[in-house]
Amino acid sequence: MAALAAVLQSRSLGFPWLLRTWAGGARGAARGAAGLHDYDLLVIGGGSGGLACAKEAAQLGRKVAVVDYVDPSPRGTRWGLGGTCVNVGCIPKKLMHQAALLGGMIQDARNYGWEVAQPILHDWRKMAEAVQNHVKSLNWGHRVQLQDRKVKYFNIKASFVDQHTVRGVTKGGKETLLSAEHIVIATGGRPKYPAHIEGALEYGITSDDIFWLKESPGKTLVVGASYVALECAGFLTGIGLDTTVMMRSIPLRGFDQQMSGLVTEHMVAHGTRFLKGCTASRVERLPSGQLQVTWKDLASGKEDMGTFDTVLWAIGRIPETRSLNLEKAGVNTNPDNQKILVNTQEATSVPHIYAIGDVAEGRPELTPTAIMAGKLLAQRLYGQSADLMDYDNVPTTVFTPLEYGCVGLSEEEAVARHGDDHVEVYHAYYKPLEFTVAERDASQCYIKMVCLREPPQLVLGLHFLGPNAGEVTQGFALGIKCGASYTQVMQTVGIHPTCAEEVAKLRISKRSGLDPTVTGC
């Protein structure tokens, strides 16, 4: 009778409900905690958010299932459990970025006394195999973790049949029906292909493919100005490939534009070619096998052509909602971008259906926010928590050849919110010690801290461009979370000699007009 009472609270009253309850009563005992449905929680999508939510719910004693399925890319690339981050995002990206950085360090090593033979060659195949092996070990690790936490995993493609039921289809075409009391949609997104460019789909690849290529991509054209475009172009250049970036307008839309400009300036100075203000119109395959790309310069209207081995589209990502049959469940999406509309509880238009991660509207497309949101959601559903996910002041880093770490507001956002008169920006150009002996150009190594002008000058945003930006920014994110003020920053002693200490040593404001270049100690 207790199980029946619980069902009464969670289901809306209606004739079908009455019929089901009788059947459910008999089965209820056999299903244990799940009661009326197969599972307490069904998570659609086995990526950063989905897995975190499922594991947390299982730890809280619930009967949980995860369904994960990867539609092959147009090129045919597919991958295992773990989602975008593990397979075609953060992990392989950072490893290839590291491969590129190492190339630079090997060159630096000479200045430090190492006898390094010239020329230094890079073998794509060796790197790709190592990266792919690591990713596969993570796929395995995730499967083992689900097993350990007693989360049921199905490699099936899911779509809604009704608000509590999902149909899953295996690769071979076999169908199953799964029902759950709560459902979490965490299907993430996939790269967008340009709609009106002839040959784009046939001949181009995306980030879904680049990390799984067995052979080197060779001379590459990266189309896009997103961090995906710049990071990929960055490591391709770093491992010695002829790389060009084609951008329609501004780089890193949404990020602080002064910093974005410095990021691309560094890439230009280090061998990446940029075609700014251009859009591709056509991609054709030449008899040699190479690709011929035709593009237009938007300013002059002139057309131009170029030959490449690979064309990588990095023009944005679209949420994976098309094949979910969301209408069958009554889950609403943003008509402009197909992302699922959610409230602060991560709930969709249907109370017991939630959405987290990249698929949800208005959320940062980042792994750590998806993970945290997933865990907090499980805690709210099954633990005694009421804590909501805080999406403010989320730190992040763009892993371009010179890395850009940031947390909080960009200068533009701060000025828009508080007015120019109420914002003070402290900044500095610095030179990492390691660059000196290596004779590296540090022209773009720059930091700026955006603060409120009124004392104690609350820190609104921090922007760091330099080596190990991710490592540097992480600690300062805690400071901002705790409401650090510029006064406190001034009172913080730096660690010497590091690049991070330059943050604590910021003293020159933009307003003063003084030269922000840091001199030696």
């Binding site: 092996n133 596969k136 070990s137 097993q147």
Partner: protein
Amino acid sequence: MFLKAAGSKLVVIEFTAKWCGPCKRISPLIHAMSLQYKDVIFANVDVDESQELAETYNIKAVPTFQLFKQTRTVNLFSRIKSALCCNRSGLMTTPIFEMCGADVKTLEAKIRELM
């Protein structure tokens, strides 16, 4: 079943994966052992290709070595018992020894001890 066919010989099952570096490194050493210890049966299971098997034997990491040996003596009485009671106690469903990692020296010592 494979384990049943081994009779009273020691069986060494190596659980590996194609993406596992240490597995590749010790592969020639394991192969050499299989030639050296002719009375021991060596077999390999790829955890990605045989997912259910890996799950059944609770494999958490690779490489994992599981050693099996039929400890019960098989006679007419136990055969009748097995047939009547569907008793699986004669078969090996739990390993007598398990080792995770690529420590070939320890593995070889254990093999020599148990064979």
